[in-house]
Structures are given as structure tokens and as C-alpha cells.
């Protein structure tokens, strides 16, 4: 121990601390200043940035004792006063510009920006990109962050703030829906007050750690825990033998052990868990757990996994390593190719990619009877709380009502927080020790453990007539599902059904093989399989355009799905197909944005420029016959406020705004009176999984209809109470008007309660029925459509690729909150850019090479292009106010737009992702037109 004296946020502090404390740990654990977040502990992500004597540093690797005598400023030190806080201009402008989504990186971005503005009161965009280069954000795509900083700079200079980039939408018919209102969490997120799982602390809390597999594939012969158990401070060491209930979890198939028993099947597999009085002890005793393994042959290639001689990942699975063969059959494929004048046949590869949400997984288990918890409770930032409850209960052999899941704020998810992470483990450990147990994954553990985006191999053959009309698409896809099923079945079904692209194709034959391997598990990731097939489909479309001599935009127009079209799964599109509109809007902007008149490509010195275009569509909702339901409850309070309750996740995408806006619209009350409680299985009805771009549609509808039925109930009550016909009662801005008089809604709530009527309504909304693949019925109840164009610059001397501009047209039915929608689009585009240019998770014979964030580059602010976004609102009848899914569509076609642009710029077609500048340069120099190797092939 050593003494540390310093000033934190203006307050002199003197503490005895362990000598090994980092500044981040000191701030969070010793001072309780949890606004400073830890994203990587590698000085990579920058979100732990604080100011030491005015200088921004990464507090995660800054020894606390070095700060002795210094003045430290954290996010908590920026705002003044008590609520309502007097915000720093940066905090205010971050909210105003929609630069806050999940909020986990927000303190780091704001502190880094604060240091910038302190030294440079009017920074240029380049200055901002230079200063924030190593402060990552995975949600916003940075464009709103840049605007917010510029706006704050203007405010501090006494100038007028910049107007937020709110896209033009049509909402004249509505009051609250269509307005860019802020999230109820926004102030908490910019001030550091918002609490994520790791920010919770309970008295007597223990710390858990997980022992993971030593091999990607091995039989477990024995596990010995005695040595670990005997260490002072260790409260529990658990293995599969200590799982009282079902030792298998999974969202589709129950194949994933909570704690491995027979085998380990990938490096992220959990073998034992430990709870100790400190995280340090828990981490150290992992080395004392002895596991005897018999290593087995490693299955690391999805195509080879299908060969009969391959080792088996799951010996008992009936179809060997083939998890599922997914088929689309439509029309007559042979006839289709016979009709074609031109056939393009190519092979594409996409890489495994990582969500890199900035908050690593964390869960806390609190036993029944401790700290006022009536049942065993798990605090976790999860995308599927009710399924977590059921899976935890099954593993612990408890009835579901004996387990409660409390959803905390989520620091980004993107599909990566759907499967079980530490939920079962903390519940087991809490139950055994009788104490709260927190398990937070390090970034490195998060990388190794959680499911990723499927790497795919896609062979695709596209036929068309001379006039450009598509006649047939045949495709074969191999998806690397990794060691466990997770959502592979669903994800790769989406890759398969969307493999014709958003086009009229009369004949299709598509086969997809979802394969088990010993690689990291693959599961849900924004785009859900469509990201991969869109790369192949849209590349082939451009090859076809070039072969036929038809403009790429025109070829897409000729074939674009429209109302009346039938998809490859046999679904008749009856409404809400905005693809042609999006093509037109994007084409107009491309024209306007090309200096000196539109060209697909041009040169300036050694720089080559090119535009590329790509289209996409993406289902809203689960589809395929799965019942798609969400419950929501709306309650009125005597103070005139309302609460919407639903167990649905807001991982930064803005669901809290959507449900509050829908409810406020129906009840005709000001938005500010609406608050939202999400994801508590004891208090909120099931909203279903936050996946498949479904929440706006399904839970939005549930909130809308719950609010409407509360309105009806209050109307009925008033009609009786005031003795007026219900038709003469109307809701207006928080008042109920009748017969020339008015009463506050809060007063009505009070009166109802006094009469023994609870002023609340619960509604379980069921989305329109869908049909399974292969039946020819409607697989989905809505589709969103998009066109994107990318302008790239290729340095022909280095092969470096820069995306200068992305133009997007997204048909999302109805913009509920335009600024929040813009944030989804900008963030989606930059994530798509990462998929094209920077990201690949590499494993070598099942062992992750990418075990550090330093080895996984997501786009930084320097990659952020100019984004011009158009909203197309082709209403869908059953969506709330006509809305359909938003979360995924913006991220799907960015990658092929970029690779198509590269092909225009330098004449080289990229078949493998991410684009490798090394190989691209060599292709340019050698005049090669085809590039089949990617970054991970540099060996």
C-alpha cells in the first residue's frame, strides 16, 4: 500500500491504495467515479480517457501513483450543480446532435474533445479527427460526434450552434412521432451517471473468473480443483459437476455446455468458474485448476468440415458437422440459365468479424434473500432477458419464476449479446456462495469467447438477358458456424433467402451449408447473414452490368423489386417497397457530388477515384413462421407522468425513444412525461429478443397499442365519472377535455386508483403471421430497402483505399425519431466500411490470433466519410405509423458499394474481404483485374 494525494474534479483527495492500482481502477473502484469506462485495458480504445493536469491520457494503463500531486478531471467533473445539471457545452451538443447512442464510449469522447477545445478553441474537422483518432465509438460512425464538437466550439466562442443533421421526413400528421426528441438516458450518459453492469456494486460482492479451454478441440479426462479451492479468499470453484440442472444452453439448439463436461470445442469454452473476494485472487487461482485433456483433431474450415474424413465437433449430431442444409428453390433453374444471354459465375469470401461493442460482457448474480432480492437475480446487459431467465433457471434446476433478470444499460450489442455469456455462471456462483458475484470479462476474454459474424464462402452464378433482366441465380454458401449452433440456423437462412438480392428473379436455386467447426462460435451480428450474401450478389450485379454494357444503376432499376413482385421464397410483395425511390434519390446525389458532371471514375495524379453502388433488402422481424410477439404495459401516475414497461433491449439504438414516442402519441401527452422501464423480468412484460430489426415494429406496436388501450380505459372512466358520452372526451397535451372543461391526466389516474381501478394497460402485440421457408408463403411481414453509393479514392502508389463519401437512401417505412434514425444509418455505414476495409477476426487452427483489441481494427474517426442520407418512407400497414426495421439495413450494402467503387477506380475486382492494400497495389501494378486474397492471407 502507498499513499496517494491528488485533486480529482477540484476536490483534494488522500488515500491509501495498493501500489498496483491504475488510475482507472482508482477512480472507479476506490472513488466510485464509474463514469470513466474501461473498454480494453490495452490503451487502444481510448474510452477511459481522463485529463491529468489538462492532458488527456488513457487511465487504464496510467499507474495511479503517478498522478500524485496532479489535478485529475473526469467526466463527472464537467457538469456543474445538481439535477438539472448545468452541462458543459460538449455534453449539451453531444445530446443535441445525437452523438450519444449506447453511451459507453461517450465519456472518453467528451474528455478527449474537452482537451482538444481547451487547447484549440476552433478546431477544423481535420483537427478533430487527429485528436480523436484513438478514441473509438462503435455506434455513431463519428459524423455526429464531429458535428457536436464543432457545435460546442462555436457555442464556447459565443457563436450560434450548428443545426443537427436531421434528415427530411414526413410527419406532419403526428405530434410526437417524427420528432427528434432525446433519450431519457442522454443526460446520464454524457455526465457519467449512467450505470452499466460493471458500475453496480453490492455489499459483500465476490468476483468471478472463468477458466477457458486450453485447446480448440479436446476431450476432458479429468478436472482437479482442490488446489484452487484451498487458496484463502476463494469461495467457490465450480465445474460441470456443480451444475444442478440442464448443462446445455442455446437459443435454437441446446448444444452449448454451461461448463464443459465431455469435450472442449473452441478456445472460448468455459471449463470452470471461480468466485473469490477479489478479482486478482480469482484470476490467479485459475492457474491452479488442473485439467487433463486429450487433444483431438481441429476442424477449422467449413468446407473441409463436410468431408467424411473430418473429425466431428459434435459426435451425436445426426448430420455430422453439417448443422443445417438450407435450401431455396424457385422456378426452374435450368430453364432460367437457358434463357440467359450472359452468365456471371464467381466465388467470394468474407471474413469472421467481431462486434467490438465497447462494453465487454459483465453479469452480477445476487442470491435470493440478499440485499432485498426476493429471488435469485442476475443483472446483465442482455439482448434477450426472458430467454436468459429461462436458460438460467434450466441450468439451476429452478422454476422460471425463481429467477429474475434485471437488464442494465448496454454498452453496445449489435447481435453479440444475444447468447448466454456469464449469466448462468454468476447465478451458479451466487447460489453456492450465498453472496453477490460479479463477473466482468476482460476485453481479451470477450474477444475469445463471444459469437462472431460468420465467415462465408459463396459461389454464385447470375444469369441475365441482353436487356439486363435477370433470369436465374444459383448459389452455394458455406457458413462457418463455429463450435456451437447459436443462431447459425437463422443467420444463414437469412443469407440464403436474401441471396438473389432485392431483385426480380424468376428462377433460383440456393444451397447453404451451416457447418460446425472448432473456430469461435458464429451468431447474430447486425445484417444477420445478409451482409455476407449482399457482397456476392452486388459484386456479381456490377460484373453483369460491365459485361452487358448497362449502367450499374440502370441494371438495378430494371430488376428492382417493386410492389407486385414475388421474392425467391415465393412471397408476394403487396406494399412498402421503396427500392426504386432509394435508387433515384441516391443517383441524384451522386450526380450533384461529382465535380464537373457525373463519371463513374476519374484520375487526379496518382489518385484514382471511383463511385460504386449497391442495393439491399432486409427483413423486419423473426419471420419464417416463428410467432413474433411483444408485450408492453403503460401506466399513468398521479403526477401526470406515464411509464412504459417492456423487456426489450436498448443497446444504444434508441428503443427507449421509440416506445415513449409511440405511447406519448397515442395518449396525446408531452414526450417529457413519458419514462420507460426496460428489461426487468419481474416488472416488465416480454418484448422478445432484440434482433432482426424487430423492436420498432413489434415492441413499438405493443407500446402504441398498450397506450391506446390505457387511453380507452381512461376515456371510459371519465365518461362514467363525469357523465359525458365517450365520443366527447378527448386527450390534449396531458389534459382530458370534455364538455368545455378539462382535467389533468394525473388527476384522472388518482381518481381511478381511488375507485380501485389501476390506471394501466398491458398489451401483447402479435405481428402478422409468417410462413416457414419452403412453403412459398410470406416468410416475413415487412422488408426494408436501401441503396448506397460510395466514392472512394485509391492511392495507386500505395494501394491505400479511402472512402470519401457515402450516399444512402433507406426505406424504413416511417421515421419515428429522425435524428436517432440518422445515427443508426451513419453508424451502420461506418460498420459496413469496417467490414469492407479493416476488420477480420483471425484464427489459426482454431486458436484466435485476434486475442487483443490491438489486433482488431474497427474504423476510427479518421475513416469516417462524408455521409449524405435520404429517408424513404414507404409505409407498411401493420407497422407502428407505417414503420419497419432500421437497425440492420444501413449496414448491409456499404461493403459492396465500396468494392464496386474500387473496381471502377482501378479496374480491380475484390473477391475476398477485407480489402488488402498490399495485394491491391500488386494487382494494380501487374494489371491483374481479379483479387482473391485478403489481408489475412498475408503470411
Amino acid at each position: 500500500m502507498a499513499e496517494l494525494s491528488l485533486t480529482v474534479n477540484g476536490q483534494a483527495i488522500r488515500r491509501e491504495i495498493p501500489e498496483w492500482r491504475t488510475l482507472a481502477e482508482f477512480l472507479r473502484d476506490d472513488l466510485g467515479l464509474t463514469g470513466t469506462k474501461i473498454g480494453c485495458n490495452e490503451a487502444e480504445c481510448g474510452i477511459c480517457t481522463v485529463l491529468v493536469d489538462g492532458t488527456p491520457v488513457n487511465s487504464c494503463i496510467y499507474p495511479a501513483l503517478r498522478a500524485g500531486g496532479s489535478e485529475v478531471t473526469t467526466i463527472e467533473g464537467l457538469a456543474h450543480g445538481e439535477q438539472p445539471y448545468q452541462l458543459d457545452p460538449l455534453q449539451h451538443e453531444f445530446i443535441h446532435h445525437g452523438a450519444v447512442q449506447c453511451g459507453f464510449c461517450t465519456p472518453g469522447l467528451i474528455m478527449t474533445a474537452r482537451a482538444l477545445l481547451n487547447g484549440n478553441p476552433s478546431p477544423s474537422e481535420d483537427d478533430i479527427k487527429h485528436a480523436l483518432k484513438d478514441t473509438y465509438c462503435r455506434c455513431t460512425g463519428y459524423t455526429s460526434v464531429i458535428r457536436a464538437i464543432q457545435s460546442a466550439a462555436r457555442v464556447e466562442q459565443g457563436e450560434t450552434p450548428i443545426t443537427p443533421a436531421i434528415p427530411e421526413t414526413d410527419h406532419a400528421d403526428l405530434r410526437v412521432v417524427g420528432q427528434s426528441v432525446p433519450s431519457q438516458e442522454a443526460v446520464g450518459k454524457v455526465t457519467g451517471k449512467a450505470k452499466y453492469t460493471d458500475d453496480y456494486h453490492f455489499p459483500g460482492m465476490l468476483h468471478g473468473r472463468t477458466l477457458r479451454a486450453a485447446y480448440p478441440h479436446a476431450r476432458i479426462k479429468a478436472i482437479r480443483t482442490e488446489a484452487a479451492k484451498s487458496v484463502p479468499g476463494v469461495y467457490a470453484v465450480l465445474t460441470h459437476a456443480d451444475v444442478p440442472g440442464r448443462n446445455r444452453h442455446g437459443l435454437v439448439h441446446l448444444d452449448w455446455p454451461a461448463l464443459c463436461d465431455d469435450k472442449v470445442r473452441y478456445m472460448g469454452d468455459p471449463v470452470a468458474v471461480v468466485a473469490a473476494e477479489s478479482e486478482e485472487i480469482a484470476a490467479e487461482v485459475l492457474h491452479l485448476i488442473e485439467v487433463d485433456y486429450e487433444p483431438l483433431p481441429v476442424v477449422d474450415d467449413p468446407e473441409l468440415a463436410r468431408r467424411p474424413e473430418s473429425a466431428l465437433v459434435h459426435e451425436q449430431w445426426e448430420t455430422g458437422n453439417l448443422l443445417k442444409h438450407i435450401k431455396v428453390r424457385h422456378g426452374d433453374i435450368e430453364q432460367g440459365f437457358a434463357e440467359a444471354d450472359v452468365i456471371i459465375e464467381r466465388e467470394y469470401r468474407t471474413a469472421t468479424t467481431e462486434h467490438a461493442f465497447l462494453e465487454p460482457e459483465c453479469a452480477i448474480g445476487v442470491p435470493k434473500g440478499v440485499e432485498g432480492h426476493e429471488v435469485l437475480t442476475v443483472y446483465v446487459g442482455s439482448q434477450i432477458p426472458y430467454q436468459d431467465r429461462d436458460q438460467v433457471a434450466a441450468a439451476l434446476n429452478l422454476p422460471a419464476h425463481e429467477v429474475r433478470i434485471v437488464g442494465t444499460l448496454i454498452g453496445g450489442g449489435f447481435g453479440g449479446k444475444e447468447d448466454i455469456a456469464g449469466q448462468i455462471h454468476v447465478a451458479l456462483l451466487a447460489n453456492v456462495t450465498g453472496r453477490p458475484v460479479k463477473m466482468r470479462y476482460t476485453r481479451q476474454e470477450s474477444l475469445i469467447f463471444h459469437p462472431k459474424r460468420h465467415a462465408t464462402l459463396i459461389r454464385i452464378k447470375t444469369g441475365a438477358k441482353r436487356d439486363g433482366k435477370l433470369t436465374a441465380v444459383q448459389a452455394e454458401l458455406y457458413g462457418d458456424g463455429g463450435a456451437y449452433a447459436s443462431l447459425s440456423d437463422k443467420v444463414l437462412t437469412r443469407a440464403t433467402t436474401h441471396a438473389t438480392g432485392p431483385y426480380l428473379v424468376a428462377n433460383a436455386k440456393i444451397d447453404c451449408y451451416a457447418m460446425y467447426t472448432n473456430n469461435p462460435v458464429s451468431g447474430a451480428f447486425r445484417g444477420f447473414g445478409v451482409t455476407q450474401s449482399a457482397f456476392a450478389v452486388e459484386s456479381n450485379m456490377d460484373l453483369l452490368a460491365a459485361t452487358l454494357g448497362i449502367d450499374p444503376l440502370e441494371l438495378r432499376r430494371i430488376n428492382a423489386q417493386r410492389v407486385g413482385a414475388v421474392t425467391a421464397t415465393g412471397q408476394l410483395l403487396r406494399e412498402s417497397v421503396g427500392l426504386l425511390d432509394s435508387l433515384d434519390k441516391v443517383a441524384q446525389t451522386m450526380n450533384a457530388e461529382t465535380p464537373g458532371g457525373f463519371r463513374w471514375s476519374w484520375r487526379e495524379g496518382s489518385k484514382a477515384y471511383g463511385w460504386g453502388v449497391a442495393c439491399a433488402y432486409k427483413n423486419t422481424g423473426l419471420g419464417g413462421g416463428a410467432p413474433d410477439k411483444a408485450g408492453a404495459e403503460v401506466e399513468a401516475f398521479e403526477d401526470g407522468s406515464f411509464e412504459v414497461r417492456t423487456a426489450s433491449a436498448d443497446m444504444g439504438q434508441g428503443l427507449v425513444m421509440v416506445v415513449a414516442q409511440c405511447a406519448a402519441e397515442e395518449l396525446h401527452v408531452p414526450y417529457a412525461r413519458m419514462r420507460v422501464l426496460l428489461s426487468d423480468t419481474a416488472r416488465t412484460p416480454n418484448g422478445g429478443p432484440t434482433t432482426a430489426s424487430r423492436q420498432t415494429y413489434v415492441t413499438g406496436n405493443a407500446a402504441r397499442l398498450a397506450a391506446a388501450s390505457l387511453r380507452d380505459a381512461m376515456t371510459r372512466f371519465c365518461a362514467e365519472y363525469y357523465d359525458v358520452p365517450p365520443t366527447q372526451i378527448r386527450f390534449e397535451e396531458g389534459l382530458i377535455r370534455y364538455d368545455g372543461q378539462s382535467v389533468e391526466v394525473g388527476e384522472v389516474a388518482r381518481l381511478m386508483k381511488a375507485e380501485g381501478v389501476r390506471p394501466s394497460a398491458l398489451y401483447e402485440y402479435t405481428a402478422p403471421q409468417t410462413q416457414p421457408l419452403g412453403t412459398g408463403g410470406d416468410m416475413h411481414f415487412a422488408f426494408s430497402y436501401a441503396t448506397q453509393a460510395a466514392l472512394v479514392e485509391v492511392d495507386t502508389e500505395t494501394g491505400e483505399v479511402r472512402v470519401l463519401t457515402v450516399v444512402a437512401g433507406n426505406d424504413i417505412g416511417r421515421a419515428i425519431n429522425p435524428l436517432s434514425l440518422q445515427g443508426q444509418i451513419e453508424g451502420g455505414i461506418v460498420m459496413g466500411l469496417g467490414n469492407a476495409l479493416t476488420e477480420a477476426f483471425i484464427t489459426e487452427q482454431g486458436v484466435p490470433w485476434t486475442h487483443l483489441l490491438a489486433r482488431y481494427k474497427m474504423p476510427s474517426i479518421r475513416h469516417s466519410p462524408q455521409i449524405i442520407s435520404h429517408i424513404i418512407e414507404a409505409r407498411t400497414t401493420d407497422g407502428p405509423y407505417g414503420a419497419k426495421g432500421v437497425g440492420e439495413i444501413a449496414s448491409i450494402n456499404t461493403t459492396p458499394a465500396i468494392t464496386n467503387a474500387i473496381a471502377h477506380a482501378v479496374g480491380v475486382r475484390v473477391y475476398s474481404l477485407p480489402v488488402d492494400q498490399d495485394a491491391l497495389l500488386r494487382a494494380i501494378k501487374s494489371g491483374s483485374r481479379e483479387l482473391y486474397s485478403a489481408w489475412q492471407d498475408v503470411k
Binding site: 501500489e19 491520457v57 499507474p63 487527429h130 483518432k133 489481408w935 498475408v938
Partner: protein, 294 residues
């Protein structure tokens, strides 16, 4: 997470050396820690003692000494970038320190740490070599100046034994009349943030418009940063023009033999980059030298 056990903050070089000696090889010096602490994290449960050298005043000096600048080993990358003398008279050092990491890293990472770590691709290091810098190394036996280049024994291997010695300061020769330098670097957007290639060039022109002196350091081309001596020799006495530079860059490509590094660069790409960055850095240095009237 517990990465070290004891933490000392000496305030003089002598105190730091005494502490090092007392731990008999079990202690490490730490400055910015942006390399060391990450390495310790990956080595898992190796706990050691850290001796923090950031509070030693001597290590933070930046002072002119004739046509040289004395730079304490504890000067941070950010301080180098902001130093107006270095900006005009050791431009390649400023350029190379300006592209290391982001501001949060540059604000703590020191030039001494960069050199002591002896990575073959260290940006600041190759500029120091190009400028002909010297380093002072202190040990219990006293202090001694070395040519910077001589400190590099291999990849990550330094002549400085960090368990008993420390780099205290650098002497950086400053550009004089018709002399200037430039730094160029190429990265890739994927994987580890280590350069594919870095190149620092320094040129001095004579009154007849010829190259009087040329210094060129590239890395990673070999386990240690290397000077492109054949190119330097060839250029001296030639007309200070683009044509000479193009030829010199071709010669660099012919005489240097880089390797492929996994997930970073192929040898073929690096060969292209050797020619390109040699050309770009020499051209930039030449343009500056022509305008330099110190």
C-alpha cells in the same frame, strides 16, 4: 488487474539506478508504459517492481546546445511535436513522433522508452538515427555517450541493460543552412498498429545545388533500423533534383531486402514501399532544404 507489485517514483537518475541495483534485475523502469504495461499484461502473472522515471527533472530537459538540442529521455512524443526548434530543424523527428498512436499515447509515451524498447519499426527512433543523434546511458559506473545506431542489437534487443542502466538524454544535431529532413510512413488499416515501413531522410545541399550530405534510415527492413548507405553514397555529389532522387529510390529498392511479416506486409509490397517512401521523403526533405536559410 494486478500487473506489478511495488511501485517507486525516484526523483533523480542516481536514485533510480540505486533502486534498480537493489532489486538485482527484478525491477523494470517505466516511463509512459504504453509498450511495457501492455507487454506485462500479455505475459499474465509475471509480477515485478516498476520504477517510474517520469518525475526525474533531468529526464525532461529540452535545451539548445550550439547546433544540437539536448532532449531528456523522458520527453514525451507530444512535447517533441510541440517543440518549435525541432519543428523547423529536426522536422523528421517531429513528423515521426506525431504519427505514433493517438494523443493519449503521445502524451505519455517517451522518446527514451521508444529507443529503449528497440523495436525495429519505431518511428521516432529511425528519425533520431537519420539525424545522427547520440544517446547518453547512465549506470552505476557513470555515464557514456553512444551513437544511437550502436544501441540496437536486434529486434527488441538493446545494448542498454534496462535492469541496471538507463538512457538519460539524447543529443540531436539540428539542421543547418540548406539542410532539412522528412519522415514518411505507410500503415495498413488492419491488425497491429505497427508500420509496414517507415523512412526518414535528411539532406544537405552545397552551393552548387548538389547533395552534400544524405542520410536515410528505413525500418522495418532488418532486425534493427538500417541506413541505406548505398543510396546515401550514390546521391552525394549528384544534382539535387527529382531525377537523382528517382534513381536513388530505385537503388534503395535494389539494395534493401525486406521480409514478409505475417498479417502486416509481403516482401514484394515492402519493396514497392521502399522505393516510394525513399522518393517521397527525399523529395520532401529536398524541398525544405531548398527553402531553408538558417
Amino acid at each position: 488487474m494486478k500487473l506489478w507489485s511495488k511501485y517507486h517514483i525516484p526523483t533523480s537518475v542516481e536514485e533510480a539506478l540505486a533502486l534498480l541495483a537493489s532489486y538485482q534485475g527484478q525491477a523494470r523502469l517505466v516511463a509512459g508504459g504504453t509498450d511495457l504495461l501492455i507487454e506485462m499484461q500479455q505475459a499474465s502473472h509475471v509480477l515485478t517492481t516498476l520504477i517510474d522515471v517520469t518525475k526525474i527533472p533531468e529526464l525532461r530537459v529540452q535545451e539548445l546546445d550550439g547546433d544540437s538540442l539536448i532532449l531528456g529521455a523522458g520527453v514525451t512524443h507530444s512535447q517533441i511535436v510541440q517543440n518549435s526548434v525541432l519543428q523547423t530543424r529536426a522536422t523528421c523527428l517531429v513528423e515521426s513522433c506525431g504519427v505514433v498512436g493517438g494523443p493519449q499515447v503521445r502524451n505519455v509515451a517517451t522518446i527514451g522508452g521508444n529507443v529503449a524498447h528497440a523495436l525495429p519499426a519505431a518511428d521516432g527512433t529511425i528519425s533520431l538515427i537519420t539525424l545522427g543523434a547520440q544517446a547518453e546511458v547512465a549506470s552505476s559506473n557513470g555515464r557514456r555517450w553512444y551513437d544511437l545506431h550502436d544501441l540496437f542489437l536486434g529486434a527488441g534487443k538493446s545494448l542498454v541493460d534496462s535492469t541496471r542502466q538507463m538512457i538519460t538524454r539524447f543529443r540531436v544535431p539540428l539542421s543547418r543552412h540548406r539542410e532539412a529532413s522528412a519522415f514518411e510512413r505507410i500503415m495498413r488499416p488492419q491488425g497491429v498498429a505497427l508500420p509496414v515501413l517507415g523512412c526518414a531522410a535528411r539532406v544537405r545541399l552545397d552551393d552548387q545545388g548538389r547533395f552534400e550530405e544524405v542520410s536515410l534510415c528505413l525500418a522495418p527492413v532488418a532486425p534493427t533500423p538500417i541506413r541505406a548507405e548505398a543510396v546515401e553514397k550514390w546521391l552525394v555529389g549528384r544534382p539535387a533534383q527529382e531525377a537523382s532522387i528517382l534513381e536513388g529510390a530505385r537503388l534503395a529498392r535494389q539494395t534493401l531486402h525486406p521480409r514478409t511479416s505475417k498479417y502486416r506486409a509481403t516482401a514484394a509490397y515492402r519493396e514497392e514501399m521502399i522505393e516510394l517512401l525513399t522518393r517521397r521523403s527525399l523529395s520532401a526533405a529536398l524541398e525544405r532544404a531548398e527553402g531553408s536559410v538558417l
